[in-house]
Amino acid sequence: MLARIAHDLYWLGRNLARAEFTARAVEAVFQAEVQGTSDAMPSVSFGSSGLLAMLGDEGERERADNVDALARLTLDADRPGSMLASVERAREGARTVRDVISAEMWEAINTTTLSLRGGGQGGWAPNPRAPAGPYLAAQYVKQRTALIWGVAARTMLRDEAKCFLDAGGTIEVSDMVLRMLRIALPAGEHRAADGHALILLQAVGGFHAYLRAVTAPPNAHPVARFLLFERAYPDSVAACADSLHDAFTTADAGPRNSKPVLRVSRLVADLDFQRRALPDGAELSGICERTQQELARIDGDVAERYFAGATPGQERA
């Protein structure tokens, strides 16, 4: 397939996943920020400034009040980190691959963008400035991205195209999870590291899965381990690395000597090794940082090998 198409599908996946994770994080932070602290348990810190940092809006941290910060993250298309901007980028990407994705999928992406843009006509909310805006918009984006991925799974051929779409989605998810972990569990900070980490689980939508998989209370360390290593949980970094490996192996013409495939294999093995070798309670911020760097290298290798040397995911100046 065309390198350009592969590239656009990959970024379509990334933008969809980013929109969804922004929505989840906005919702979780919003819920936590309106309340005070718990008297029974301290919690890891992940407020709206953490959210802005996660989404690369750090340069613009003029101390806005929370509702304002959340409104910006939600529906301000001029902020590249907002949910709407991610959805808009996904739509732009989808337009260039309309012949590759199914008509149903295009429609799902298009209506999502239009109703977010139009402040919810027939969509998510009566009035974008209404106080419940962030919650309802986040709900809407979550539901619609699930729908889009579902339509993709049911209507697209499981070929190269689907592989690049999926690969984009999973690499973005793992990057987002790592960003959150690095903000919530900064290196050497021990006070916060003992707190409960419900907000992290809510921000990735893994609360229920965690409770069913792990018996330990949702404190920072077990939660971080779960989000890094639990392969049964689809949005953990390890599970994302697995599916990334599957996607590239399928799409690659010669996976045995393909740099992205080799690099991802190494990441999969490394995560598995760390899971077994690291004692409980060991510091995890180092692994998060290294893994994130490794993912950036994979991103570079992918651009070089599959996208005809197109510039890898670019960094904003």
């Binding site: 350009r4 990959y10 970024w11 980013r18 919003f30 819920q31 936590a32 309106v34 309340q35 005070g36 602290t37 718990s38 008297d39 029974a40 348990m41 301290p42 919690s43 810190s45 992940f46 400034s49 996660m54 690369g56 509702v67 590249p80 980190g81 980028r89 732009e92 990407g93 337009r95 260039t96 009566p126 209404a130 106080p131 419940a132 690095r182 903000i183 900064p186 290196a187 900070e189 006070r191 916060a192 409960h196 419900l198 229920h208 965690y210 409770l211 069913r212 792990v214 018996t215 209370p217 994130q292 996208f307 197109a310 510039t311 890898p312 995911g313 670019q314 960094e315 904003r316 100046a317």
Partner: protein, 541 residues
């Protein structure tokens, strides 16, 4: 807490002589409620009606509903009636309530232990034995059993009301299976979504750690030495009116929700049937009455029970929360003696008062009560949920006369209490205006290694004008209950979420395809690379 200058007057008058939770009697907002009232004024009736509509939609969507039967006998599913005006308690008020509750629950726990062992309080002549033995929830089957840690009342909810003078009184104890905690959590979540601006000037103490507190308490009493204890929530089944709460707690704690058919006792050990065979259960949070739990020991025709469970419990192989037989402590006839219990077991003076109560089995008291029945509240001892209650001042002469006959026939089945002037709180009417409605408060306590009480609790509100019956089965609603941080709280653990400097993260990337032609035209591709952004991708099209 400063009040914005553009405050819009809220049209509300507290109804004397009742104390109002948010307003002084002269009609000015209380200090702690000023910012809240100002926000309510800014929202206005339309804003409140609108938020109410969204609340109903969200509750229906999430299935937070309850069934009501209409006059024709047909049942409707209705969204849980949450009132959008929260009730506000200052940190200081809350600390007093909390200390009072902890004291009361400790005394009740001592009482249950005593009744099934040495019965010292009876021998001292403080509580008449015939009242204890005559209590329908007295369980002979568990005589002499002491559960791990000596804890019987793992989960307790006492109903409090506030009198006109502002004092708190306990109107009822619930140490069997108090329900309502799921609504406390769901109400808070809904409020934060629907009317976040109300929270703006406050730091409200969160409640969402309750499931973790409960799980920790259950694990701490579970008799498992070697491994992590297996805890289950036991529900009578989906037809139960509180099934939503059972499922909610099981999900929030991440434990199995079991029914009787999932459980089996072998050799005095409780197991559950799983796909991998029998798995041992160490602690059961049961949500059904004693009568049904074990057909071998209690009601023999119970289909909801697990034969042999009491035997396993007696052998100490499983912890049951709440323990069997705790119903003896929340009987309405025993209620009168709780202040005595506190003095007897703890050698302390009660912090929370009782409502004046008359035991009708005593002839003199009974005659006195029958004379002024129209001024009193009469309650059946064995019932809960507001069933069979007669409020004298609101009842017709006929009703009062009929009640007099029933008391004469079975005096031991009834108690009479002075009428308490339940406090009121502003409540949203269907047109968005505020009116005073009567409220009570049910805080929830968890007793494991120590007693933990979730800040606030369930505020129930009587939605009918002038009514004082707050039970949701009788047309009551609920309110979110805020306990405010006041800065000098000794029992607060960590500092508030600090604005720590997050570590430097790599910038987000944005995909941008540079076609070959475009790249060839670029003299310096490197430069292009550094300028790329979402905008570049967009211009291309």
């Amino acid at each position: 807490m400063g009040v914005a200058t553009d405050t819009i007057e809220v049209d509300y008058r507290p109804r004397a002589p009742f104390r109002d939770e948010l307003y002084e009697l002269d009609g000015t907002p209380r200090l702690a409620a000023q910012a809240l009232i100002a926000e309510l004024g800014r929202l206005g009736p339309e804003g409140l009606v609108d938020a109410g509509r969204r609340r109903d939609a969200i509750f229906m969507q999430q299935g937070i509903t309850f069934e009501t039967s209409g006059e024709s006998g047909s049942s409707h599913e209705r969204p849980f009636p949450l009132d959008l005006v929260p009730r506000v308690l200052t940190g200081q008020e809350w600390r007093a309530i909390k200390r009072g509750l902890a004291q009361r629950i400790r005394a009740l726990n001592h009482f249950v232990d005593d009744i099934y062992h040495a019965r010292e309080i009876v021998r001292e002549g403080l509580v008449p034995w015939r009242l204890v033995a005559g209590c329908p929830h007295f369980a002979r089957a568990v005589h002499g059993i002491r559960p791990p840690g000596g804890v019987y009342c793992h989960v307790a909810g006492c109903d409090l009301v506030r009198d006109s003078d502002g004092s708190w009184r306990v109107i009822e104890d619930n140490v069997r299976i108090p329900s309502g905690i799921s609504y406390v959590l769901e109400n808070r979540a809904a409020m934060a979504r629907l009317v976040p601006e109300l929270f703006a000037s406050y730091r409200v103490r969160p409640v969402d750690h309750y499931p973790q507190l409960l799980l920790r308490a259950l694990r701490s009493v579970a008799p498992s030495a070697e491994s992590e204890a297996t805890v289950v929530v036991w529900t009578p089944g989906p037809a139960n009116s509180a099934y939503f709460e059972h499922a909610f707690l099981a999900r929030q704690m991440g434990v199995e929700l079991v029914e009787a058919s999932d459980l089996v006792v072998r050799d005095d050990v409780l197991y559950m049937r799983t796909t991998r065979g029998l798995e041992r259960v160490h602690a059961v949070y049961r949500r059904l009455d004693d009568d049904f739990v074990d057909p071998l020991e209690f009601m023999s025709d119970s289909l909801l029970g697990v034969p042999g469970l009491v035997r396993a419990y007696r052998a100490g192989s499983v912890a049951i929360a709440n323990a069997f037989g705790t119903g003896v402590a929340d009987d309405k006839a025993i209620y009168c003696f709780v202040p005595e219990m506190i003095r007897f077991y703890l050698a302390e003076e009660p912090i929370l008062e009782n409502v004046n109560t008359y035991l009708l089995s005593d002839r003199e008291v009974r005659e006195h009560v029958l004379d002024r029945l129209g001024e009193l509240v009469v309650k059946p001892t064995g019932e809960s949920g507001g069933k069979g209650v007669m409020i004298g001042p609101h009842a017709s002469d006929q009703e009062v006369a009929r009640m007099g006959e029933r008391i004469k026939a079975h005096p031991e089945r009834w108690i009479a209490q002075d009428v308490v002037c339940l406090s009121t709180a502003p409540t949203v009417s269907s047109d968005g205006t505020l009116r005073p409605c009567h409220v009570d408060l049910r805080p929830f306590a968890v007793f494991g290694e120590s007693i933990e009480i979730v800040p606030g609790g369930l505020t129930r509100v009587a939605l009918e004008d002038g009514s004082m019956i707050v039970n949701s089965s009788r047309g009551g609603g609920s309110k979110d209950t805020w306990v405010l941080e006041d800065g000098d709280d000794a029992d607060r653990a960590g500092p508030p979420i600090a604005d720590t400097q997050p570590p430097a993260l790599p910038d987000l990337r944005y995909g941008a395809w540079m076609g070959q032609q475009q790249q060839q035209q670029q003299q310096e591709p490197q430069q292009q690379q550094s300028k790329g952004s979402a905008r570049v991708g967009r211009k291309r099209i």
